[in-house]
């Protein structure tokens, strides 16, 4: 068997693809967090819970209504976005005048409540989401077998991330968003309905989390705690990448997933802490994050 540094290449590649898949979820989640933070100045602690809700929505659609994966891919994120609209309009909206801390506390509380509701109704053992037939099997790349669904997750999430980047950096709608991030009052003084824009931005950001949840459903067990597990890592990703940059959060998310995967092969004991070690180092050297702007 071929080996690199004494590690079988199959095992290495296997861990790297798992890492890459995780990285895709980190990227989609940190992207949504960055968009929300930019416009609302709110650190959305409920992001992981809403990712979990996305996964549960797709599981419910399949098991209660017989709606398949492809429709869930559209319907579940819309469902999560609607939850987002309700959260923003009824709760978050009242906190913008106050310190950041209040938004963080509110969304943290919401995360606990949402997770509690699902734990109460579904227990914490987790439900499997059956993989659609087209994704059964793997591609033989010669040096490794690449499971089809993992390939799909990677391609799909990179497309979604790049489309989001394009939307924000290259379109008129994105120009409103960027301008609103800088100076919302002036944008509103030009006649743009900024409160609506804020609501839609939050809905879009959590919708991305919902989409990540649907895509994650066949990979992990659909579990009420799947959000709180991933969100801590995602916050570390955001700290490492810096809040300022869209592209930064995508790149950092993917890179850290890969680094985690690699660590699992090289030194498995450190695989769950490596991200936090990198976070500590980055904080020492560049407190604003790799892509963040110093204030």
């Amino acid at each position: 068997m071929t080996e690199i540094f004494g590690i079988p290449i199959q095992a290495l590649m296997g861990q790297l693809t798992i890492g890459l898949v995780n990285g895709c979820f980190y990227a989609m989640l940190s992207l949504g967090l960055a968009v929300i933070f930019g416009m609302l100045n709110v650190v959305n602690f409920a992001h992981g819970a809403l990712y979990m809700v996305g996964a549960f929505f797709s599981w419910m659609l399949l098991n209660y209504a017989g709606v398949n994966y492809w429709f869930a891919l559209i319907l579940a994120p819309i469902g999560v976005a609607i939850v987002g609209v309700i959260i923003e309009k009824t709760m978050l909206r009242w906190l913008y005048q106050l310190d950041h801390l209040y938004g963080l506390l509110l969304t943290f509380g919401l995360a606990l409540i949402i997770e509690g509701i699902f734990r109460h109704n579904y227990g914490s053992s987790g439900q499997p989401y059956e993989l659609p037939d087209v994704f059964r099997g793997a591609f033989d790349l010669g040096f490794m077998f690449l499971p089809k669904y993992r390939a799909w997750v990677v391609v799909m999430s990179i497309v979604v991330c790049l489309a989001t980047w394009y939307l924000i950096e290259k379109t008129k709608l994105g120009a409103y968003l960027r301008a609103g991030t800088e100076n919302p009052k002036l944008v509103q003084a030009f006649g743009i309905n900024v409160p609506l824009m804020v609501t839609l931005t939050y809905a879009f950001g959590v919708g991305l989390a919902g989409l990540a949840g649907v895509m994650a459903a066949p990979v992990y067990l659909v579990n009420p705690t799947m959000g709180s597990g991933i969100i801590i890592v995602v916050f570390a990703v955001v700290v490492i990448g810096g809040m300022g940059s869209i592209l930064g959060s995508i790149v950092t998310g993917l890179a850290l997933g890969l680094i985690e995967g690699l660590t699992k092969v090289v030194y498995p004991e450190a695989s769950s802490t490596v991200v936090f070690i990198i976070m500590a180092i980055v904080l020492l050297i560049r407190p604003a994050g790799l892509f963040g702007r110093e204030k």
């Binding site: 120009a175 409103y176 009052k185 003084a189 030009f190 006649g191």
Partner: protein, 234 residues
């Protein structure tokens, strides 16, 4: 009252707990240009902001073309046909020059086309793809003016547009203001530079302590020069 495109009466405004405007009254007819004069801190900027709903609490009346605006949200007030050029210029640093120019949506009919604007401000055309904050102070000011001309706003609120600019650029702006006035736009200017404002304006309102302290018509300027000196310290 008749014929006033905009009339502000007993406008009061607060920033948090501090009561800044104590009943401002003025009005302006279609096609007129008025100034708000006064020393620093008199409340001129706050008057413009209060009209747009950018201060905290406010009361009184702001009638724009017959519509009461004092209780409307900012974006709806803007849609009544206001174009705002803020004191700090407000060029967005994450947008290019041209994105800044194209950002404000139309709020009325008959806005200038991008070509007309570039003909009026050739510098902006050269710098169209530069990042907003890479522009010089003069270019930023022109951009801040230019971007509200595209929107079809019929009332322009211009806050200290000549501040800190070289004399040549001030001259250019003077020419632009004349052109806009000839087109029939209605303009409210806050100005420190009285020599710039005097020949352009139909009427001057002098503010002090958040109120209008004096009104001087164009034809009375010479007669009331001493009084203006007193108020403005110029």
């Amino acid at each position: 009252m008749s014929g006033a495109l905009l009339s502000v009466s007993n406008l009061q405004a607060w920033y948090g707990e501090s009561h800044i405007l104590h009943g401002v009254d003025f009005e302006i007819k279609r096609g007129e240009l008025i100034t708000l004069l006064g020393r620093n801190g008199a409340g001129r900027t706050t008057t413009l902001k209060a009209m747009l709903g950018l201060t905290g609490k406010r009361s009184g009346s702001i009638k724009i073309d017959g519509v009461e605006a004092v209780n409307l949200p900012t974006h709806k007030i803007a849609r009544l046909g206001l174009g705002y050029c803020p004191e700090e210029r407000g060029i967005f640093s994450s947008l290019s020059c041209e994105e800044n120019l194209l950002l404000p949506p139309a709020v009325g009919e008959g806005g200038m086309s991008v070509d007309e604007i570039y003909a009026m401000f050739p510098n902006l055309k050269e710098r169209r793809s530069s990042q907003g904050t890479r522009l010089s102070g003069g270019e930023q000011q022109m951009l801040a003016m230019a971007r509200i001309l595209r929107t079809g706003a019929k009332i322009l609120l211009l806050d200290e547009i000549t501040e800190g600019l070289a004399p040549v650029i001030v001259q250019t702006l003077g020419r632009v203001i004349r052109e806009l006035k000839a087109k029939g736009l209605t303009i409210i200017m806050v100005e420190q530079n009285f020599r710039f404002a005097a020949p352009l304006a139909d009427r001057h309102y002098v503010m002090e302590h958040g109120k209008i302290a004096a009104v001087v018509e164009k034809q009375d300027l010479a007669a009331k020069a001493d009084m203006l000196h007193e108020y403005l310290g110029v």
